[in-house]
Amino acid sequence: MIRAQGLERRYGLKRVLHGVDFELGRGGFLVVTGPNGAGKTTLLRLCAGLALPSAGTLEIEPDRSRIGFLAHEPLVYLELTALENLDLYSRLYRVPERRERIGMLLERFGLWEARRERASALSRGQLQRLALCRTLLHRPELVILDEPFAGLDADGAALLDRELAALRGERTLLVATHDPKRLEPLASGRLSLA
């Protein structure tokens, strides 16, 4: 699903990633850890196809239509409602039975009551839940999550634990986190960036 060899990424003279090798098979769950500035976000952006490696090889099996990417930012339009945001992405991804899918995700992530609220009026935790809905909307084969627990309260974090447990084995997961212990029971591998 993902195979990286000697992966390197530079921004100008600054080398952000160097000599990263890993393999993540279908259905695998790889946790990426490392201190701030270690290149976790850069690695995830490379795997999502949002950036190109400066050196090394990176093979990613599904095309971009089958990748779900949760970034630091929620990647939703703040002037649109939660429902409008998900409707926009579901049309772009051609999600079948999109109304049912959107309704189901909003219910599951506890956003049904807030569905007609503009994203700008949502709390940080609700925005993160909406971002998770957007990420999973098109049932991606490869799910890439950058600090998915950021901004979530205890209930939200427990909900995400359950979601990740349900996705494990069924989807391929690549998750960057500062809290690897939380994901230890689920993970099939761990990549530490220095």
């Binding site: 949002l50 971009r64 002037e79």
Partner: protein
Amino acid sequence: MRSYLSDAAVLARKDLRLELRARDTLPAMLLFVLSVLAVFHFALPSGSSRLAEFGLLWVAIVFTALLGLGRAFVAEREQGLLDALVLAPCDRSTIWLAKGIATFAFLAVAEVVALPAFALFFSPVSWATIGGVVLADLGICSVGVLLSAMAAAGRARELLLPLLFLPLALPIVIGGVGASVVHAPGRYLGLLALYDAIFTLLAWASFEYVVTE
């Protein structure tokens, strides 16, 4: 083709809806074009030539367009949303087309107000001028949206967009002013149509390389 147009329509509707909610581009464009025409009205000596008057009209149109173009990618830039659009499985040039449609709509509304105001302050506007404005808008939006996306990716975006756009808008001003003041405007309208054809094709083909690495 149908899915291409439907993706562009979905994205354009989103841009128009965002403007209806936020109202931060169109009112600014309207106020700007009216202010500029009012300033020109008092700055231009009485008895000035039609060439000078229409020259100022086209300067006002280009700078008003620049104002709208500068805001075309604000939501995407401030919230990192270009990543989400680039990741979506639609053709990336639909982002350009949708932004072009939305910017064209804002510019057209500004001109619906600006042309009567120009007629009030200066001279009546001919059909050739209106035709020139429509053709010019197509070129302005196709080139401008591409440059706006390029500028949005850079640091000095407020400086970069005018520096890139104004030299490329020169043929538009020449064609527009020419079509407005000569008796047989066909040649100048042809120039604008040719500009539209060439630059729309170039912008459409190159947009993907602007928003991806």
